[in-house]
């Protein structure tokens, strides 16, 4: 490590200097620099909208910078597209996965790759063999002929990395690779990253989870508001060092911000009753549950326990096989429309597939669940006031509420979705992995908002893979295992051990 610090720029694998990029009036990057050395995991830290993805997209050839130089292994490049960057050994694995679900693993890994092409088309046998070799390197044991869409999230993530390896990438840019992974999946991704680093690959890593950053990084670069703030090797960097540099002064108290879980008020009412809910696929296998006003319930469980399926059945997205849902003693119908009307609102777990309409404006996205009669004119000025209210309240970073949602950074998109659900004043707000991709500061703010909503009598159900998050905000911990509720514990009695036992089915 120490040896690298004094190295001449000639030893860098990638050198970015004076990078600036504006999107219309928004200066996303302003004179930013980044140096990547061979065999390091380099964490790019910064708040939502600080320019991390933009910097990686420039390096990966997805977009071009306005000014600045990109030097890869001593040669200056201006990558016109992703392919050109890949040819030079630089691959970006974007915030949203870009695999083709219907194609097989092997096809995805070698998409667009020259070597597998032969005179008479593509040699799939050879490709599959080559693919297996790469998957072995990643300790992935999967059939290369199955469609990628059928694989779990973490394996899809690794297949994106396999793709990078197929192109012999020496620089791999991972934009929030862990945001959609379960904790154990994160661990296996980290193993692969370490292994690649030891083989000499330079890896850029982005995450909003402090623990992950501190665990995996060899070096840090911090961005704030599109500017380069600092860079340092891992030695001597701790969470306060990072927070100090990432966060603007006004929010410097974040590290300490802890939410006090209020004991549920005595006057609480039964808001929602779920009785033996079962979906058609059998992934939700008879869940009964009562939720009270003024209470935040955290739903824990392992991947595949059926948590997402449960909440999606609750709001009518998945077909109900049997069972009932009642809100304030009134039966709720089986469509999403019925659920929203009855006051059940869901922030889904997967932004790209389930919640963001990227080409639609921030305004329309934010108000997507709100509606009047279908043919009644919408009042643009009234809407504007509502939307701007949320933009201020959640500190959504956007230059124009009529700009398409895709112009916002990932975390800010998520805030828009949360606002969408809050805007309909639900009785039960369900959040499936609500803070996915949201920075530390905003996360604390969202917890505070949830807390105050609960105090106003709302019932909140959050699904989270992070036990920490569950313990931090819940009044009551629910655990699912194999499609059923395996524990329902008051916060005061919930311990990590107890929850894990319930999640693995070892609780009677």
């Amino acid at each position: 490590m120490e040896m690298r610090i004094g190295q001449a720029p000639g030893d860098t694998r990638v050198m970015m200097e004076g990078i600036s990029k504006a999107f219309g009036p928004v200066q996303a990057l302003n004179d930013v620099k980044l140096a990547l050395y061979p065999g390091e995991i380099h964490t790019l830290a910064g708040e939502n909208g600080s320019g991390k993805s933009t910097l990686l997209r420039i390096l990966g050839g997805v977009i071009r910078s306005d000014t600045g130089r990109v030097i890869v292994e001593g040669v200056e490049h201006d990558f016109p597209n992703v392919r050109a960057a890949m040819r030079e050994g630089v691959t970006v694995v974007s915030q949203e996965l870009s695999l083709v679900p219907a194609l097989s693993v092997a096809e995805n890994v070698f998409l667009g790759h020259q070597q597998v092409r032969e005179a008479r088309g593509i040699n799939w046998k050879k490709t599959q063999a080559a693919c297996s070799v790469i998957l072995n390197r990643l300790n992935l044991d999967i059939d290369t002929s199955v469609p990628v869409g059928t694989l779990p999230q973490d394996q899809q993530q690794l297949i994106e990395i396999a793709r990078a390896l197929a192109f012999e990438s020496r620089v791999i840019l991972l934009d929030e690779p862990t945001s959609s992974l379960e904790p154990n999946e994160v661990e296996s991704l980290f193993q692969v990253m370490r292994q690649l680093r030891d083989e000499g690959v330079a890896i850029v890593f982005i995450s909003h989870r402090m623990r992950e950053m501190l665990e995996i990084s060899d070096r840090y670069t911090v961005l704030r508001d599109g500017r380069f703030i600092d860079t340092a090797p891992a030695e001597g960097v701790d969470s306060s060092w990072l927070i100090e540099r990432m966060v603007l002064k006004r929010r410097a108290t974040i590290g300490q911000a802890s939410v006090t879980t209020g004991a549920a008020a005595p006057g609480r009412v039964q808001l929602v009753e779920v009785d033996k809910l079962r979906d058609r696929s059998g992934r939700v296998d008879g869940v009964s549950l009562t939720l009270f006003s003024g209470e935040i319930a955290g739903l824990a469980g392992l991947a595949g326990a059926g948590r997402t399926e449960f909440v999606e059945t609750l709001v009518g997205y998945r077909h109900r096989e049997s069972g009932s849902v009642r809100v304030l003693d009134k039966e709720v119908g089986g469509t999403t429309r019925d659920a929203v009307k009855a006051g059940l609102s869901l922030v889904p777990d997967d932004r790209r597939y389930k919640s963001a309409v990227l080409d639609m404006s921030v305004r329309d996205n934010l108000l997507l669940s709100s509606r009047g009669a279908p043919w009644v004119p919408r009042s643009k000025s009234q809407e504007g006031a509502i939307v701007r209210g949320w933009v201020d309240k959640l500190r959504i970073k956007t230059s124009d509420i009529d700009a398409p949602l895709k112009t916002l950074s990932g975390g800010n998109q998520q805030k828009v979705i949360i606002a969408r659900c809050l805007q309909v004043s639900p009785k039960l707000l369900i959040l499936d992995e609500p803070t996915r991709g949201i920075d530390l500061g905003a996360r604390a703010e969202i917890y505070e908002i949830l807390r105050s909503l609960a105090a106003e009598g709302l019932s909140i159900l959050t699904v989270s893979s992070e036990l920490e998050e569950i313990f931090q905000i819940s009044d009551r911990v629910l655990v699912m295992h194999a499609g059923q509720l395996s524990a329902d514990i008051p916060r005061a009695e919930a311990t990590e051990q107890l929850v894990i036992a319930a999640a693995t089915g070892h609780l009677q």
């Binding site: 990029k21 504006a22 999107f23 219309g24 997209r57 997805v62 977009i63 071009r64 910078s65 306005d66 000014t67 201006d78 597209n81 992703v82 392919r83 974007s94 870009s98 083709v100 998409l111 667009g112 999606e312 709001v315 997205y317 469509t335 999403t336 429309r337 659920a339 929203v340 009307k341 869901l346 889904p348 597939y353 389930k354 919640s355 963001a356 309409v357 990227l358 080409d359 639609m360 329309d364 108000l367 997507l368 669940s369 509606r371 009047g372 009669a373 279908p374 043919w375 009644v376 004119p377 919408r378 643009k380 969408r420 309909v424």
Partner: protein
Amino acid sequence: MSNVGLSRLRMTALPPWSGVLMLLVLLIIVLAIFEPAFISMGNVNNIIRAAAIPVVLGIGMTFAILTGGIDLSVGSVLAFSGVFLSILAGFIPISLAVLVTLVAVTAIVGGINGSLIGRIGLNSFVVTLATLGVFRGVAYLVTNGKTQTVDPGVIVTALGDGNVGPVPGPLLVMIVIGLIASYVLRSTYFGRDVYAVGGNEVAAQLAGINTRSVKMTVYFVSAACATLGGIMSIGRMESAAPTAGAGLELAVVAGVLLGGTRLSGGVGTIAGTVIGIFFLTCVSNALTIIGVSSYWQPIATGVLLIAALLFDRFRLEPSRRAKKIKER
């Protein structure tokens, strides 16, 4: 490098139909210089009248394509609607027949296309390809293949070909329908739902939108537009031919896509559709003036359709483009 950034910025800042508008203006200027006859009052009048029916159909088509679907049955529905009206006109006064046709044909066609696609969830391309055949066939059957002469009366003539005061009737129809459609898409919840369904259907559904009913409704809208087109064509031809509007779906889809509506849904405007169809109409009108055989017209339309798709492809921001290319 900065130049590239700038031009890309401009591309995204302008409305999606600005490209085809520029082409249209360019075409008009070039033709005005080399074929002054093109901008004579008479010819402009011709172009407006020729564009009116495809524009009306294109407006309906825009709704369908915005949800990520397509309605290939519009040309056949136009013929069916005309034949329906011509038969009805034998029994009841023409003005009443027009109303009954509008309601009945819209209900029949929209009902069939809409429930198969919206309710049952069948593929819109296949369903409307089938109904393209069905309604054309019905039009042949009930007329026995013969063109029916109709006395269109003042109202239908005004809609299809006549003047209202100094203004061509078809122009008024276009303007009224266009303004209504544009208003619906921009300023009603239904319009927003149309974009949402095409942009991300799962997200729309999870947000509480009844996506089935939105998809169903757009085929009613398209059916209504095609039915109106059939009535206008009677005003124009003073007869109802079972062959009317054959192949029209090509020009209509091409115009909509040229106008910047994305084939996969979620992006597009009525203004773009109107401009796109006017562009195609001007091209075919110009070919006629220059004296090129009319057989070239579908070829020109087809080529322009592919050009529109290519243009759309390359207008996409590079990240999307990369993804799309990967998807091939």
